[in-house]
Symmetry: C3
Subunit: 304 residues, 3 copies
């Protein structure tokens, strides 16, 4: 990964993923050793929609490497308002930075933008499209908790609209992972995603409830079921309630079951899970820093 853009998790081979995760593990083992690694490097943050957490994580990553950020700020106060094209915006901002992070509501925007700039561009989410650094930190968390070979992962909740879930499922096909999908019928995997996973030879099964599969899982990845996917509040409550877990639920799982969630959570995981050894979701969020440091390090190394 020299001098490349990072647009999609799909572009990453198993070797490419492992290069990032290995570097992240090295960093996490001794973060302070990396504090002067990219002194003076500036990361340009172009967030065309808010995503505070992703922005904070990239910011911490840049600063933990001795670098810093230059932030475009909210779109409402920028040249975008005056009708500037995305291509123009990134071409201006690349003059202020050594690498760019782009978050944009339109699918495909990151790929398009990357064609106009000479510095590495990282996609931090483009609408219903990709968010590769989320996938990488998910993979890193799974690897740290359960390894990435000969494991069973359950993914539960909104499997229809969840970009995070689709990217993760695709990425897991690079490894020896059995995947179980658990969702209400109305929010099951889109046909196209299911088709792709089969094409890639993935071992997947789909379920309406967690019960039949819980005891087999090494990892349970929970996602939020959003209120706005349902025509009325009562239907939402009835369905969402069936996909919530608490400490009692997990008593039927393995002792070393790892529970993940991309956060923020609302009711999907009860607070009594937080104090169990299963809970890995805060650590998962924290893992965003070494993973993004690793990615930046590999990209900027290519620049030198």
């Amino acid at each position: 990964m020299r001098h490349d853009h990072v647009i999609s998790a799909k572009q990453l081979s198993r070797a490419g993923i492992e290069e990032v995760l290995d570097r992240a593990a090295e960093i996490a083992a001794d973060p302070s050793a990396w504090g002067h690694r990219h002194e003076g490097a500036l990361l340009g943050l172009c967030f065309f929609e808010p995503s505070t957490r992703t922005k904070m994580s990239f910011t911490a990553a840049a600063k933990r490497l001795g670098g810093d950020v230059v932030d475009m700020g909210p779109v409402g106060s920028s040249s975008v308002k005056k009708g500037e094209s995305l291509a123009d915006t990134v071409r201006v901002v690349e003059g202020y930075a050594d690498a760019l992070v782009l978050r944009h509501p339109s699918e495909g925007s990151a790929k398009m933008a990357s064609e106009f700039v000479d510095v590495p561009l990282i996609n931090a989410g483009d609408g219903a499209g990709q968010h590769p650094t989320q996938t990488l930190l998910d993979l890193y968390t799974i690897r740290e908790s359960a390894g990435l070979d000969d494991i069973t992962v359950g993914i539960m909740g909104d499997l229809k609209y969840g970009r995070t879930v689709h990217s993760l499922a695709h990425a897991l096909t690079n490894f020896d992972v059995r995947q179980h999908f658990v969702s209400p019928e109305s929010l099951e995997l889109p046909r196209s995603v299911r088709y792709d996973l089969h094409e890639e030879g993935a071992s997947i099964k789909e379920h309406k409830t967690l019960d039949p599969v819980l005891s087999e899982l090494d990892v349970l990845y929970v996602t939020r079921i959003q209120r706005e996917r349902f025509p009325d509040e009562s239907e939402y409550r009835a369905i969402a309630g069936e996909y919530q877990i608490d400490a009692a639920t997990l008593e039927d799982g393995r002792d070393d079951l790892t529970v993940m969630h991309p956060l923020p959570r609302v009711d999907e995981i009860a607070h009594d899970v937080d104090d169990t050894d299963h809970a890995a979701y805060f650590q998962q969020a924290h893992n965003g820093v070494p993973v993004r440091m690793a990615l930046l390090d590999l990209l900027l190394e290519g620049e030198r």
Copy 2:
């Protein structure tokens, strides 16, 4: 003060206060000597309501120590909007930082949040509750101007709603300070605050006007009387006007009288006071930097 949270000025003993003020004085005497003191340290800024000045002051403090900040940004663009709890938010953000600063509209929120994180958390104001770093910078300014023993301090303006004033009055009971309170009847000290001050053995007197006490004061601390405390504009104007000072007013005070104000001011202190030697309010604002540097230094020192 090793590894602690800083939630309330009330938690600070005289020795604890003096430790911070002494460190601040050391820093102020030679700020550049501290520029590499906490290189690489990151301060997480969680401001759930705007307070630009406090945020700038903490930011400058972190950077003057060689550290940096990671800012959550405005709440409108964060996970809070999606219904995330404060406990979850701070647990995520602590993964990005070595210490947290929390500003939140709800009294008690800082204490609650601190119970969920392992890094030191500083309360930067929790509603009608506490704002301990404001109190520390007020104490520092008084000590630099007049010392903190055997002095007479007047506090004038809105004594009913002013969190700043209540915290300062409490903190001053640790020292040999005579306190005079000057306010309209409708904005006098709340009974509970008066009671507490008496319990702590404070020497306090209350007045309707500044006249009878002005000549005794070493320090006059002025606060703003807010328009919205009064049913109509004319009543507000009449009352507020009696608690405004100008250069002529101060001619009846001591030559070395120090005038303070937490800022922003509107009409409480006329601009002709700015050019007199009495004016300490801009210096007071500037003192926020060495005082917050001192506090961060003591907290992060405990971390190492």
Copy 3:
């Protein structure tokens, strides 16, 4: 330029301009050599109206010098809302920083504010007034492309309301530059600007269309004609269309013609110009960093 405020391009002599441009050229030749030049220096950003690009450019400049920024953030969340005067705001913020950058909607505000602070203040645009660092980066770009002596510069578009254009035209009178102004009648140079340029002995000519003068130009500076200057959409479209250029237009110009634009552009310059050697507008934006680094360096050098 020791310890001064930078309020207006008009205050800059030819020698003063050249000092900044020479320093900028030195910096651009080897930017990494300047990365520790002002370690620890803090630049206070006071933007009373949004100007993301200018803010990013100053931020990158400060950080490329080893310094950092302390940003007041949007006015909506600041003490300004509580009625604080500009003079008070800058007097508080100067306590957090070693130099200030002020952007304010009121003409003359930068001059006024500078009278209240002891640290250097740079005007980053005051309404219809001045924006001297834009002028300096324009001059730098012209000098790098075509030199600043014995050249012909065309300035086209909105010449009536364009602050950028007026400042540039004034600054060019310090050099041996023939100036051609091209605009619709309703947007031609204001009488006062024309008068001043004549007073300064400038060689200027005005035109309704680009045709008669294009072939003479070393530099063509295009500005945006704003929709809101016209009573109706169709009139706007008709007029604006006559002042747009594309690659075909430029075939009648010199081979080494340099095309500039302060950005953002909308339709004034077709995208097919981007790929020609004429296009200098992205480079022009990027030049803001070394030029602002040079200015900061000269100002902070005076401070030491």
